[in-house]
Structures are given as C-alpha cells and as structure tokens.
Amino acid sequence: MKRRTFVGAAAASVPAFNILTAGLARAQSKEIRMIESGGKSGESIEVGYIEPLTKKTGIKVVRESPSSLGKLRALVDSGQTTTVLFELGSGVMVQARKLGLIEKIDWSAVAPAAMFPEAKNDYGFGYQYFSTIMAWRAGQKEPKSWAEFFDTKAFPGKRCLPDYPHYCLPFAVMASGVPADKLYPLDVDAGFKKLNEIKKDISVWWKAGAQPPQLLKDNEVQYVICWSGRVVGDPAFGMNFAGGMADLSYFGIVKNSKPEDRASAYKLMHEMSLPENQAKAATVISYTGPSPDLDPLLPKDKLAEFPTSKQNKAIQWFQNAEWWADNGEAVNKKWEAFKLSL
C-alpha cells in the first residue's frame, strides 16, 4: 500500500516513471472484490461469469451484497481501495458518474464481444437486462395496454405498483395517452393525475421485488407492475411485455481502485460479454446479458421469458436514466407528497 502510493506520487512528478506504472497496470490481481445486488442475480454472476474466468485465468472474485448508491459513496468517501467492481442500476450509474464515484472503463482492455450499444457505456458495463412489466393473476381479464391496465372499471381488481417513481410514473404517463417514444421529458403531473384517479384501487406499493408475485399468489391483489424475472415461467401468472420498460444493470469501476484489480476486472467484463457465458447465467435467472447473438443459445421454449429476445426487445422501450438522474430528487418530493395523500 505504502509502496504503491510512493510509486504513484513519483510517477506523477517524474514523467520517466510512467513506464513503471504502466508495467504495474498490466499486472493483475489474483483476487478481486465486487459488490453486487445479491440473491439469484449474484448466483447467476457466479455461474455465468466468475466460474469461467477462474477456470481460464485463476483469478478469484469475492462477491458481497447488496449494492446501493449510499454504500458506493461511503466506499469512495472513506478512501477504501479494495473493491473494484460495483453493480449499479442505470439511473444510479448516471448519478454515480455525476458524483465522481466511478471511473471510465478502458474498453480496449475489455475487448468485448459484440454488445447492444446501450450496454457499452463509457462508465458502465451493462451486464444484465431486466424488464418492468404488467402481470396479473392467471384467469383475470388480460389488459393489452397501459391505458387498460390503469382502467380499474373495465379491469376490476386491486393493484400493486412499485414504490419507486422511476419504475412506476412512466407507465401512468403512458396510460394517459403518451406514446413510448414521446415519453421523455416525462410529464410528471399527468402521471400523478392518473395515479390519483386509481389510488383507491392500489392496495400495496412494493419496495422489494419479491412482494408483487407473492401478493398475486395470496390473491391480495390481482394486477401488478413488477420485474419480469419474478413472474415468468409460472403458470399462476399472466404477463405482457408490450409497453414494458427494458432496463440494464451495470458494473462500474470504483474510483481510486487499484490498477491491477482493474486489469482483472476487465478480464471478468470480457467474460460477461461472451454469449455462451450469458446463456449459462440465464439458466439461473430470467434476465439476459447484452449480446445480440444470445437468442440461438437460449432454450427455444423459453425465449418469450427473456427481456432481450427479439420478440420482447422490439415491443419494449428503454429507461431514460439521464432524465431520472437530473430530475429524480424533485420527483421524489412530489412522490412523498402523493404518498401522504393516500
């Protein structure tokens, strides 16, 4: 630790030392640490990407969870340098970039296989697509659009919606008649107006992704907006990807992490870009990696369950993380005020 600080300082003052630090950067750690969101998603990272990496290179990856923006800020503010990879939602990734908590990815060092463009961000490796969609208890009348989903007269039943403005408001705005391609800048007031119309029928606002499927099973609610991986493949539920929101989870490089840790982290990112590894990860969780060549490697009968399969990706729209990073706090105040009016 001391030695490296010295070398770093020396390199900054004496240009000739640059060669030496470049040599250090090429060195790889045999063990790196990541903070990810945990649960099945963490298992899918282990099976899909870490195991192949360890087999090829001997590099070990220690996983910790859960990941939140607050934790990342605490890591960086406290000056720790042991964790190199941090999982970030798309909005959180933009905020982390603006707060200077993550650093640019050296994409030439990653040398990825083909990726969807939105997944290849300057500051984030988009490793996992997930969708926020409408779902219902099997046997309920099936809504075809958000306008129908929010029409509690024609589609009677209790609703369970996300207690996160960025996973909920866009759909309310769509229900008020705004098409997906004109959604942003988001007409927040139209969204709240729509939510106000049906608030009597919204019995639960969920915080944890496990809540909506359980509430459907308990018949506590009949219609939900939830994450696709929680409901696909279960005959107890009906669902519709149409008009759903595709989103990405990213891995970012923690600010001030060690160069040799980064070199190893880039190796892991390379593994994450390979479609054959993404197919392995998709056996654990119904969320998919960023490769456009993934479809043929997935089981044919399950293609309808994945966020990025051709049939599903085309009918969804993509989350506008930049807008939420700029407006999230102001919207949150309105959100709290709305919640107080329930």
Binding site: G70, K71, S203, V204, E336, K339, L340
Partner: protein
Amino acid sequence: MRGQGFGFIAPLLVLMFVAFNAPIAYMLGLAFWDKGRGFTLEHYEGLIETPVYLRVLGNTLRIALIATLANVVIGYPLAHWMRGLRNRARLVAIALVVLPFWVSILVRTYAWIVVLGNGGLVNRALQWSGLTDEPVQFLYNELGVTIGMANVLLPFLVLPLFAAMIRIDDRLLQAAASLGAPPRTIFWKVYFPLTLPALAAGTLLVFILCLGFYVTPAILGGGRVPMISNLLDTLINQIPRWEQASAISTILLIVALLIFAGYRRLDRKASA
C-alpha cells in the same frame, strides 16, 4: 476514591465516543458544512421551502403515538394479569412475552401477513363463521402498521411494567381495603400511582423506538404509510442526499430529546 473508578471506565468512554458519538456528530454536521463552501443552512431552508419531508415526520409522530397507545392498552392489563399469576404460570407468561425477542423481526412481520391477510387465518375464520362476507382489510394501512409495531414493541413495555408491579407490596393494597376502599379506588389511588413511573418510562421507550421503525411500516403498511426512516433510506441509499438526510435526522433527534425532556420534567414533578 472517585478518580480511581474513572480510570476503570475511561476505556469504555473512549470507545463510546469514538464508535458512537463521533460518527453521530459527523452525521449531524453533514447538514451544516458543504465541501469547499463552508457553513450553510441551505439544507434546512430546503426543508422549510418544501415541507413535504416535515409532513412525513409529522405522520411518523402520529403513527408512533397511535402504536404507543395501543401498546399501553394491551401491555398494562397484560402485565397486571401476569402479576396475579402463580409462580409457574408466571414463568410461562414471561417466556411467552420474551419469546418474540428470539424470532427475527422480519419473520414476525411476515407472519402477520399469514394471519391477517385477505386469505389469512383471521379472515377465513370470520367468513367461515358468517360474521363478514368480504375480507376485512387489516393490512396495508395504518391498522396493519399499528398491529405490527405493537407486537414487536410489547415486551419493551410489559417487562419494566411487570418488574415494577411485582415489587408493589400486597399489604399496601390490603391496608387500603381494610380502610374500606372499594377495588376501583384501591387501583386508582394506590396501585396505579405506584406503577406510573415504570409505565411512563416504558411508554417513552416504546414511543422513541416507534419513531425509527423501518421494516414493519414498509411491509405491513404496503407503502401507504409514509414513515421517516423509509424516507431517510431513500435519501441515503437512492438519491443520495446525505446532507438532506442529516438535516432531517437532526430534527428527529431534537424532537426525541424534547419528548425526553418533557418526560424528565413530569417525572421530577411526580417524585417531588
């Protein structure tokens, strides 16, 4: 002699200061100092300009008060009943009150869903017996939060109250009876005043714990009962606006201290 004792507890004081007081002071300071810009009050000004966060705090105080009252209404008779039990029965009762301490708060909270949900035990029994046609909405509202919080916090009230009650000398009650006081008078003139300090302390403890409740309102409130700790979570982990969170925490701390000061005043008056 006094100085000697201090030497023994000094390490503990240092530990308390370093591990507890210093981080709190740092956290409270966050709202006043901006990196590079020095002293500022803008985070408090922000609270006043958009008072929605303060309204969440108000809502939290209201729910805490309701839950505390519910606790007293259930806890006091329970403790009193336990006092009257025989030794073995009393042990069993104490065990039953303390038992929930060993069960994770998350498990207990989810257990209420099984008991009180639309398809839960209570609603099925009610419908089976013909008392109701539609399921009664126990959960995902303030009632659910109150039930959950009362359940989790009951031991904090019952145990000190029970400890105070069994210390009451039965002969005092007998003396009152021998002077011709009816049971109601004995209770209100002799028994109740003797339990009042413990009741006040337990109530205060429960109320302050209520202010910081997180899991129960999040799950049993169905997100419909905004509480300050859930808001703080959003401000710390999602947005993240630690300075704003710090300002709110400071106000929460001051409110708690004011309540405590009020209690001390009452306590001193009562004992004087």
